[in-house]
Subunit: 474 residues, 4 copies
């Protein structure tokens, strides 16, 4: 209620009640003023009522919601279905203009404000939880793979002749496709084995730079978050090479925002070497539906440049989800989730260790993977175990058998799934990702143990077939 | 209620009431069965209750909503905020897999089904309203510009050496950027003037093919829907050239689905020549929020290929909006909207003609533009008129002065805004787009007439400055 | 957005966009200010966005939504389920205090304001559409029967010895029960037949007053809206008798707000005689879910007295429905519905007349019933016709056979259903009530004609049984 | 999705995914089948998705939602506003028929089923948490005061001559008004002081029965939950007297469902004596918005009789809130809340004891009040303390000064607020009610201690005035 409304309401209610309601509202208003003024993610999360009130107010600022608006353009944000209008809080114009995805839309002041505030909150959060040097970020209304592709495309005009992207191998299709669809040639840098763990082969990468010629390398694309037994890439060393040879360096930090270790490596790499952009998914890191990614970096100009390369407008929907979620969580809510995740990871490691000991299996030692963990499996156990777990409602576990070969985007990869051509074990991996509960860990372990025991006899004799695409059980 | 529930409810209610409720539900179920069986856009729109019931049922099929699910992957569609979960009907997994945007997700049977049904309904609708030969389509969760870019990128591997995109000029930035960001070189084919109207210069285009070498041309990018006085491109002739020279032909049909004329030209072009893909925005053609586009074509393989080029998953949100809207409209609802639009267009043309006569202005004759119409303005009237209308709550009107020069994506365009280097008039355009009402037309005309009269004296003496970006008044 | 927020937003957006958004919002604010200042039903309906924004603002004024509230009472409006909180816009405290249902709650300034505004809007609307002399009204969060009962109970303390309620017969159970549950003795005044029509027997009523002694009569309870062939009661004549003998007069105007005729009779009765209160349902008159009623009158003190008799708090839900609906309709929307209803009534009368002529049946002539109409049926047709129509999805039609006897609340009524002990025909009635469409009329007539024709042969031989409760077919 | 839909979906998705989704849905279906079959409150709460799905299915069973329905009655549950329709899940017909509030509506099978299931769940819950002998209950869509009134009215026809209601004093207005509005004469039975505690004067009550004549006593109305220092009434002894003298006994158990002590006393009273009905609020006991009450008893016939006395239909809204909430909580959720409440009560008692000790104040010893607790205040502290706490956002605390006199419903009560004409202390009370958190207790105590300290000097000199209505600070 505005001041005039409250004044008028005094004819209907005792002024003390109005006064008290007004006082109580000040704390809400103050939160909104601070958001607009400081453009930081609030420390403490907001209640849904405050968020919804703000969203309605923002929507009223868009021309399609102006009571007297008369639209004679081809794009007037008319919404046919009431269900659709409502689920978007009547925001219809999307974000960006034809010239720039981060540009303000004259017809949509509210959507534009929402977009700017969301970008600002994400930037603030990334800085506060670990990558202090971040200078800019952009919430992209498309998932990680597409955002990596857009980032690579944005490098092209400054290095028109460069056609190679150096890629320390990570067995995930989107990532490869983001390079090839962007029109670059993938140069695979196979990883090395250190104990159970798979790590970046830095000398091999350096050698590739030399042999191809730095000027022909469009970028190096490294990865932080990944499935064990692969560890986070040796970001700092790669960043140094990139700096030395003046090669762009893009980091696929898909679900690494949730891990202090990943954040730390990026911050350090940016400090000691070159990191042009690091990209992360919004769904995995911020618990929103799939559909957005954040591209961030240490050089605001390059991030802005990516925005300017984007042709046309885009959906506000992933931005809206993030806006609501960040306001609802606050920095405290987010860091609490990070802490819990870390505890669940330790719990998962402990429990998997116990199961390994009990069943005489090997827990893979991968200290450079902060999110997932692997358990070596008896020969032949893989596929059947995967489907057993699937039938028991376990989703997300990956079972890898080391003898797969796969061609993705024209690149042949031996040992597909294992990030290495000759990994010595079949194994399964499980992750302790953001939002997981302790109950999830315990339920998984119970189901896993049951399956493993049940199979232990069979396993000795049977060697299961592995289906062609069969890395992830679902 | 399932049959068992109804049976159990008979202990609580007279069976005749249960029977009647059950009978009434059959018509709803039948609609759903037909949708699943025929995969066609329903003739008649559905009520919201039926749509919501189906959405809840689909969401229940996704693993994040399984009561006993235990997720140990990195991507489990956990949603933090209740507001966010609810606005997406608890669909969290997005669409597509890392390998293909139209692939089914094992963790998300419901989302996958929703995606397939939406694609099928759009295909059916496009066929039934005019482009009968369409073989496949793909709803892309990104706007038109990005979808044009993805389509161009998808052409690259079959023509790796081709670097030019021939582009009959259309003064709209996204379109240019979709070519340049994709890494191609834009070859502008300037238009010719035919009376008031701006049309494709087919001989010039043919000459460019010859001079550059057909094998070096990645694609021709034509446009249907555009602002008057530019007309729809001469699609059939261009398509014939493309067929003859084996050059891919992409049609930017941004808001052309709403116009039978645009649909007709595409259908004909596909019949007599080559059209690889035609791309249209979901917001402008289907009255949903900005954020999606449909790429369709006469060759299912190529459309599938675009899907396979897409790196990673994507937001289900634009697909969901379309799903709801198509079910809500039905084919009858959509064609009714088309008919109304066409009537409003005639009304707009008539009323603008009257104003032109009254004020001694020239109505631009552009019979090849079925959606927008232009009115020549007295010299110097442009900018001020634009801001006058803006202040009066008119959105979407464009005021063009023919002396602008603009550099977009490295391409210099003289007469920016007019689609022609030397258009002889300043003018304004207004469009009768889908969802517009007769009241919108009348309100616009009243405000326009008022502004024009008010300015008529001033106009003789003043020559207004034109702001740098000033094509669209908002 | 408050002024300070807009000011702060100027650092993020061009001030002209902010200005335009702010200007557009003024029209919304002005509407709210006028509502608070004038406390009248708006002429023109509001859009949902404005209504929802206001509801959120009102909810913020209730203490359960104060961010820093700390509740140590037994009633703190805590809401367990998010679904429940949301559907009530987080209003939890209900309306009223233990002392008075219309009293302001200190803990719930917002709910109290909403309640006052709703009452004021209903009062304004009732005055403007016909009962100009209305002095006060109260939206009661319970249906018509309960509200009649509360009104009768409120009469008791001023006439402690009076134990009879005179009741011109209307065959509807709630009405009778509202008298007997209130502890009064029902005195039935049988109606008289005038042609086909059933009307109040005024001399008989006058005689009852004399024989029982006016001082022993607690009230006369008349009825306006009812099923044909009963007409609206002779309100003016009854009101004169009541005035003359100083007897309270309560009018059951259940669904009469929708009819100018009913409104007119109440207004006249209040002018020439005595009407203490007239009571109407919110669901039938205002198209909200069942659950509220409005008690209104020409003496504000008596209406307030009813409020003070109410023990305890009450649900805000029916009030909230009415608040939303009245804002959404506006006076114009409501009167448009009234006009349509009246047209549909004429259409129904015409079409039923045609069917009567075609099938050689008698259309009952009941010029004093503005809402429903009856068609005499061939002997024995009744019950079967009822169930035939029921099976064909016709709801609300009543089939009456004149030989029923029913005991309700201890009162024996001969000819139950017909409002008369010896009505000469079996008949069916259908109503043209608010919100009905012309399609409803046509569909009904088509289904009715089909059933009647089908039965015409059978009817000659069969005499259908009539079920015990069988007035309304559903 | 029904079986046929799943079968058809197999053409679009791999059957294993369909199978898994279908399996997952079985647990939901099973829950619904069990609810319909056993009609018990589920042990474990349901997720919102399952609840919403069921609500949509129930709504589809009501005739206003039948796709082909054609309504020609006066009450067809047409809903004007989409906002209103949605917030009621399109349930419009309310509950009950003119004959009986618990009767099934032919037009509304879904609403009727919802009503029956809610009543059954409440009955089951009441039995399981303590009053095992309960035979029937009825959720009434009106608050406690009205429900007490309806219960008293329902007693009248079996005891037409009885005009007195005996009332062990409880200083709460609704309760008194429920007697007087029902038309009975209140006979106050003043309480006695036992130490700090105020208890029922059983001999005085017995004496009243004798002096008035048992046959003239319509009922005794006792109270369980109340503000300290009043304790729960001596239910067992009163029940024995009622049984012996054949007098109806109604228990106002307003917020006693949340307390095992209150439940125990009712169960015992029903076992050893006579309890006709016990009535409780839905908002205070089940954390829903104000607006419903539950009347329950040991004799199903009497409870049904109350239902039959209700004139007309009623809002389904309070029933719907309870339906959602009970499904969402489950018995486990409810008992967990009870346990927490009990712990918070102990915490509150402990903390108030500490403050009393520190400030040299007296904590009132009231072992028979399980929900609230009192702290004696220095003379003159009352009113100012109340407003100080109000200003600090403490709601619900009551400050009582023992010298008030109040006339309610014609009854003069000395010492109003204290339930006793001469209570020896001024005091404040605070309650630990269901849904309170430990943080609430701590925040309250901190604010209270601050206020008390601040006032300690002032208090010696000032004697504050007490406003007329000033028992509850808000």
């Amino acid at each position: 209620m505005d001041a005039e409304s409250l004044r008028l309401a005094e004819r209907l209610l005792p002024s003390t009640y109005i006064k008290q309601a007004s006082d109580a509202d000040i704390s809400r208003r103050t939160k909104i003023h601070q958001l607009l003024e400081k453009r930081k993610c609030p420390d403490e999360g907001w209640d849904d009522q405050t968020i919804e009130g703000l969203l309605i107010d923002l929507a009223k600022m868009d021309s399609n919601n102006f009571p007297a608006n008369c639209g004679v353009g081809e794009r007037e944000a008319r919404i046919y279905s009431g269900l659709v209008a409502q689920r978007h809080y009547r925001l219809g114009h999307g974000i960006g203009r034809s010239g720039d995805i981060s540009e303000v839309q004259p017809k949509a002041a509210g959507s534009s404000l929402l977009n700017k505030l969301t970008n600002a909150m994400v930037l603030d959060l990334i800085r506060r939880i670990g990558i202090r040097g971040t200078q800019a970020c952009l919430v992209m209304p498309m998932a990680t793979g597409m955002t990596v592709m857009m980032t690579l495309l944005s490098l092209r005009d400054s290095r028109p002749q460069a056609k190679y992207v150096l890629w320390p191998r990570i067995d995930q299709k989107s990532c490869l496709k983001s390079i090839s669809t962007a029109g670059f040639e993938v140069v695979v840098v196979e990883n090395v084995l250190e104990g159970d763990e798979i790590r970046t082969d830095v000398p091999a990468l350096k050698e590739k730079v030399t042999s191809l010629g730095a000027e022909n390398v469009a970028a190096v694309l490294t990865t932080t978050s990944c499935f064990a037994p692969r560890g986070v890439d040796r970001l700092e060393e790669v960043a140094k090479i990139c700096k030395e040879h003046n090669i762009p360096h893009v980091v696929n930090n898909a679900y690494g925002i949730q891990s202090t270790k990943c954040l730390h490596h990026i911050q350090q790499a940016g400090r000691v070497g070159r990191v042009d952009a690091f990209i992360q998914s919004t769904d995995k890191n911020f618990l929103v539906p799939v559909g957005g990614a954040v591209v961030a970096g240490f050089d605001a100009h390059f991030i802005e440049h990516i925005g300017k390369m984007y042709p046309g407008r885009a959906s506000v929907s992933p931005v809206l989800d993030l806006f609501i979620t960040l306001l609802s969580m606050g920095v405290q809510g987010y860091t609490a989730l990070m802490t819990q995740r870390s505890q669940h990871m330790e719990h998962l490691r402990l429990r998997m260790g116990e199961v390994a000991t009990n069943l005489n299996l090997k827990l893979l030692q991968t200290k450079n993977n902060p999110i997932s963990i692997g358990l070596a499996l008896p020969e032949g156990a893989g596929t059947e175990l995967g489907s057993q777990l699937f039938l028991r409602g376990v989703s997300g576990v990956r079972v890898v058998t080391p003898d797969q070969v796969k061609v993705v985007a024209g690149v042949t990869l031996k040992g597909w799934g294992a990030h290495h051509p000759n990994y010595p074990h079949a194994y399964l991996t499980a992750a302790a990702a953001l939002g997981m509960t302790r109950t999830d860990v315990d339920t998984f372990m119970a189901r896993l143990e049951k399956c493993l025991k049940k199979m232990s006899n069979k396993l000795k004799e049977t060697r299961a077939d592995v289906n062609e695409d069969g890395l992830e059980n679902q």
